[in-house]
């Protein structure tokens, strides 16, 4: 479904990605982790067309997509959320939901799209906020709105960048439920997160990036025990005085 082939990305003298390669099958749920500056968000931006790779190729659904505009990639069924929530703050929640739906289906289906948007909002437990401005939502609710908006795009692959950051535990459950349920419907996920508990609970496969390279790719257990991962990322976290108890526990 998705194939990333030897992707490099340079910003002047800084090498953000140095030959990243991996493939993703339909319906897979993959966690993408790595320390700060590992290249996770850059990789997401390259895959979704916000950045052009310096070298390498990205294929999606049997078609080469690097070089396409972001909207063309989105229309092919590859959707994403952003690390910092980017709801359209001065638009109402329902209007936020309609943006991707109208982009795909056009104005002719407005009534059915509205209905679908309300159903998705209900599923995310924020349907009562449909008429509110997005700016009046809490951070967690804005995360849910972003997920709902993504679902309106009807993507085959969803890339979620830090979906659990700054989210209340109750809303976190709603996000879990969203990911599991949508994944069961056959949609693939790449979930990027620093929240190790969540990533290791959710994912059946984990890719670890460090210094712009894939240093591990496998099931959660093998990744946990990979010495390269422990040294480059997990070990570093464990040794940090400020590392969380939860993170330490997950690698014990």
């Amino acid at each position: 479904m998705l194939e990333v082939r030897d992707v490099h990305k340079h910003f002047g003298g800084l090498q953000a990605l140095a030959g990243v390669s991996f493939t993703l099958q339909e319906g897979e749920l993959v966690g993408l982790i790595g320390p700060n500056g590992a290249g996770k968000t850059t990789l997401t931006n390259v895959i979704t067309g916000l950045l052009k790779p310096t070298k390498g190729q990205v294929w999606f659904g049997g078609e080469r997509i690097d070089g396409l505009a972001p909207y063309e990639i989105a229309m092919r069924g590859l959707g994403r959320t952003f690390q910092v929530t980017r709801a359209f703050r001065r638009m109402r929640v329902l209007e936020n939901m309609l943006v991707p739906a109208l982009a795909i289906h056009g104005r002719g289906h407005i009534k059915s799209l509205r209905r679908k948007a309300l159903e998705v909002l209900e599923f995310l437990t924020i349907d009562h906020l449909a008429k509110e401005f997005a700016r009046s939502l809490s951070g967690g609710q804005q995360k849910l709105l972003e997920l709902g908006r993504l679902l309106m795009l009807d993507p085959k692959l969803l890339i979620l960048d830090e979906p659990f950051a700054g989210v209340h535990p109750k809303l976190r459950e709603a996000i879990y439920r969203f990911i599991f349920q949508v994944n069961e419907e056959g949609k693939a996920f790449i979930v990027i997160s620093h929240d190790m508990d969540s990533i290791f609970t959710l994912s059946r496969r984990i890719i670890v990036l460090n210094c712009g390279q894939v240093i591990a790719d496998g099931d959660p257990l093998s990744v946990k025990e990979d010495p390269l991962v422990i040294e480059a990322y997990l070990g570093e976290e464990k040794n940090e005085p400020g590392s969380t108890r939860a993170e330490e526990a997950s690698f014990a």
Partner: protein, 336 residues
């Protein structure tokens, strides 16, 4: 249903009021000219508000497009002897092409960079008109034939009023359409809009073309009514007036912005000289200081403008009230 009836009644009242105003004014040329000019500025302000307030493209070149439309039509009438109608059609074509070009050039420009670029563009056009005075008549002004022979002040009033109503209707419809939703999404976050399937390039260029054409059309029609156009129209001061009108009316709503322009034009004319408690006051150029004060007070105490809250109250709040009532009912149902 009740809310919709009130909305329709308000619209009908305003249209009827403006439609009958020339009779109430006794057909006096001065007042009719003021209103004609107010409608012209209202068209320009509403279209600029659509571009800047709705789409987030802060262009300072809007008056340059109005001038471009006026000069295109005027020069064609003068040198090729075409009728004003064909001149206006040519103005539409030229401003379309020019708007498309500027839209493409401005794609990667935002905020202050876009503003500076469009200021430079306006100045280039103004200087071209000034330096090519053997063709354009420079500061003396280019004479334009009337829109049609025998047009009266009342006729001019209705031409600009119809133009304003048509443009406001179009902008209102577009703002609520898919086009309007996409423009607002681009204004809020261009990258996020693109990631959700919006062709941001197409919509940004389209809104430039649309608003340029409206400005060019308004410029061409208005200066055929006035009979003369000078490069002054492209000055930054004129553009500042448009921005101030939009801010006073309500930047995010083309209709509120249009009301702001009408109010300000009338205010600026009234402040020239007026009698209060038997004392006649002539403010002259000082009227701009009073106008500036109004702008400052609006920015300080009514960031949404003077008219936007009224429009919001009459046309948007009823839908929200309905939603809130529905939610309350749902909560009560669950509790009960």
């Amino acid at each position: 249903m009740k809310g919709r009836a009130v909305q329709l009644a308000v619209i009908m009242f305003i249209v009827l009021f403006l439609g009958l105003l020339p009779f109430a004014l006794g057909g006096q040329p001065y007042y009719l000219e003021v209103m004609t000019s107010a409608f012209f500025y209202a068209v320009l302000t509403s279209s600029w508000s659509f571009l800047a307030g709705l789409a987030g493209q802060f262009s300072f070149g809007h008056m340059a497009f109005a001038g471009l439309g006026a000069y295109t039509s005027g020069l064609l009438c003068r040198y090729l002897g075409v009728s004003p109608l064909y001149g206006i059609l040519a103005a539409i074509v030229v401003t379309t092409l020019f708007g498309f070009g500027v839209g493409i050039l401005c794609l990667r420009l935002r905020g202050a960079y876009l503003a500076l670029f469009t200021i430079a563009l306006s100045e280039i056009l103004r200087i071209i008109v000034l330096t090519e005075h053997q063709f354009t008549e420079g500061n003396r002004g280019l004479l334009l034939p009337p829109l049609y022979s025998g047009i009266t002040h009342v006729g001019q009033y209705y031409v600009t009023l119809v133009l304003l109503l048509v443009i406001l209707g179009l902008l209102w419809w577009l703002a609520r359409s898919r086009f309007g939703i996409f423009l607002r999404a681009i204004r809020e976050d261009e990258e996020a809009a693109a990631a959700l399937g919006v062709n941001t390039v197409r919509y940004k260029v389209s809104v430039f073309v649309l608003t340029s054409v409206i400005a060019g059309l308004a410029g061409a029609i208005f200066y055929h009514l006035v009979g003369i156009v000078t490069p002054e129209i492209m000055q930054l001061l004129q553009m500042s007036l448009i921005i101030a009108f939009a801010v006073i009316g309500g930047l995010e709503s083309p209709i509120a912005a249009a009301f702001g322009a009408i109010l300000c034009r009338i205010l600026l004319e009234t402040l020239r000289g007026f009698t209060i408690f038997g004392v006649h006051i002539e403010l002259g150029v000082w009227r701009y200081a009073v106008f500036g004060l109004l702008l400052v007070l609006t920015l300080r105490f009514a960031q949404n403008g003077l008219f936007y809250p009224i429009i919001d109250y009459l046309f948007m709040r009823p839908a929200r009230r309905e939603a809130v009532a529905k939610r309350k009912q749902e909560v009560e149902d669950v509790r009960g």
